[in-house]
């Protein structure tokens, strides 16, 4: 699997963190991670996202050509570059947003999304449709570091409770920064409802898209 990180990272620990989560979950999966240049803080607004799309497309094409990946997984809930990549590569392209929203739907409950953006990301809204009952952002949480502090975790728990008050029976973590800090098991313990992690669930679907049917031959 070729995994595209949409933040720029020199540190291999950061670059490979999402791939490692997936390899721990799916024993026979091998993930190769690469990142785009020039976005050290990730895609934190729509302008950054617009600038990143051609870079994501170029990187995906290179990974298909040079590394022979069976699938490309764009590890960002905004699915940046996913439609554009599908036009130009021959392997399946999975985005963390539409894929994790599809997984959330399969649990049959109204879904509440927790994000660090104020705006509702289009792939999540499109897939969930009327099953999306709310979109919340924890207050005072600006960066991944804030997610790791005790105070940040309290803010996130409160935002999750606001979603449940709106009727959510499933929480979708609508930012892969939540995956980096491994928030899902913590929040599931706190809220006692299923919490969908975007990297694990999206990567799992990418694994199926790449090799699932081969297991049946």
């Amino acid at each position: 699997m070729g995994l595209i990180r949409v933040l720029s990272a020199d540190d291999p620990e950061i670059l490979n963190s999402h791939g490692r989560l997936l390899e721990a979950f799916i024993p026979n999966l091998k993930v190769m991670s690469q990142c785009i240049e020039g976005h050290p803080k990730g895609l934190w607004n729509e302008e950054e996202e617009r600038q990143a799309i051609p870079k994501i497309v170029r990187l995906g094409q290179e990974m298909e050509r040079n590394e022979g990946v069976d699938v490309l997984f764009v590890s960002c809930v905004a699915d940046p570059g996913v439609p554009e990549l599908r036009e130009v590569v021959s392997v399946p392209v999975i985005g963390a947003g539409s894929a994790s929203a599809g997984v959330a739907l399969s649990l049959g409950e109204p879904v509440g999304a927790l994000s660090i953006t104020d705006w509702i990301l289009p792939p999540v809204a499109e897939v969930l449709g009327k099953a999306l009952v709310g979109w919340e952002r924890p207050t005072h949480v600006q960066t991944t570091l804030d997610l790791m502090s005790e105070e940040g975790r309290e803010e996130i728990t409160r935002a999750g409770r606001r979603l449940m008050d709106k009727g959510a029976g499933v929480i979708l973590l609508a930012c892969t920064g939540f995956s980096t800090v491994r928030l899902a098991p913590f929040l599931e313990d706190r809220l006692r409802v299923p919490v969908i992690d975007p990297v694990l669930s999206g990567g799992l679907i990418a694994y199926y898209a790449a090799v699932g049917n081969e297991a049946m031959r």
Copy 2:
């Protein structure tokens, strides 16, 4: 994983066939399969389905109580008994219909569904919404045996082509009988578009629902 077959089978080969597909695909998964009584031909019409629902609910409750399963997977695209089971058990309940439709959505193409029923199954229609561009049934195909003959496979290929003519870029196999005869790789070779198998994709999501977040602790 507790897997519920909605046809009655004495033969362990038949009973365990879907579980074996999943175990071959996910190495560290253990599947326990059980079936309901009194439906030797499966749920081939709506009256059979109605009669089966209380049996599915009772069986799922027994599997939770006696076997300690982490998740229940109803291996039928009609999701029979899934909403009712969710009311009475504490583990996640995944149905092959809504789950495989969620996986199909993550590929970002209009979806065509291939089934052996004339009527569109509600969980597929609900999850896919306007992404569902067609529902086709191969002519002269009545039973699983028909699916395995050379002629049956030609009929299925033709039905798949009719879906592509309607704009489908992904084919969802909307009957788990297609999984039993391992149709997905055959059809993918013939049609050159992704073909979503309901047992593999639904079972994969059930695996995530049961143990996914545990891998992050």
